[in-house]
């Protein structure tokens, strides 16, 4: 197999692995979704006060400790 073809294959694999990691990170990202009066569900933006409060309550109920970033 020629070197350019090998590089192409390796590049393809690397892209797939990176995409899989991105998907996994997105799936594991905290998410708050609200549906009022049988209307359409909306996802609250990350960092909004109401999303943060609901996430904090969920973590309390799930007995979750928020990990602080390591120095």
């Amino acid at each position: 197999m020629s070197r350019p073809r090998q590089r192409g294959l390796l590049g393809g694999y690397a892209e797939e692995v990176a995409a899989a990691m991105r998907r996994r990170r997105d799936v594991r990202r905290p998410r708050v979704r609200v549906r009022v009066d049988h209307g359409e569900a909306r996802v609250l933006d990350e960092g909004t006060p109401e999303a943060d409060r609901l996430l904090a309550l969920a973590r309390e109920m799930l007995d979750e400790r928020v990990e602080t970033p390591r120095a």
Binding site: P30, V36, E50, L54, L57, M61
Partner: protein, 146 residues
């Protein structure tokens, strides 16, 4: 009122919810004012009444008119929290992250509907008892006059 139901009926309702879905770890039931009515399954050791009040307060802030149904699902690292608020009750449950939210809400709606039906039956029974007591009093009064 629904809150006049015996506490055991609320407990039974939550236990039934936990039986309906093996994914549900724990559950709370509050009235729309935030008073904790029952808790079942795995729940945190903290002050549940206070946590329940805060959840109901947050749900109240999301509902503009106050009494409309609200569904909230929160996915965190260790699991998910589901909140369903209807006319008289707010139900909360915790699950793992791999659940289908639609199915969890389906089970929660089913149990809240059952609580509503049980409360309505209780109200009818109470009204019937009162009517019967009033009839008996009238009869006794008529008997003593004669």
């Amino acid at each position: 009122m629904l809150t006049r139901m015996a506490a055991t009926a609320h407990d039974l309702a939550l236990r039934y919810l936990l039986e309906l879905s093996a994914d549900i770890r724990g559950a709370l039931l509050m009235d729309r004012a935030g008073e904790l009515l029952s808790a079942a399954g795995l729940v945190p050791p903290q002050d549940l009444a206070e946590t329940g009040r805060r959840i109901v307060h947050e749900i109240g802030a999301l509902a503009s008119a106050g009494g409309e149904p609200v569904e909230v699902d929160v996915f965190a690292a260790r699991g998910a929290l589901f909140v369903l608020a209807e006319a008289a009750h707010v139900m909360v449950c915790t699950t793992n992250r791999t659940v289908n939210p639609g199915l969890i809400f389906y089970d929660m709606h089913a149990v809240l509907r059952d609580i509503g039906r049980a409360a309505a039956a209780e109200q009818r029974r109470e009204a019937e008892d009162q009517r019967r007591a009033a009839t008996n009093q009238r009869r006794e009064a008529a008997g003593s006059e004669a």
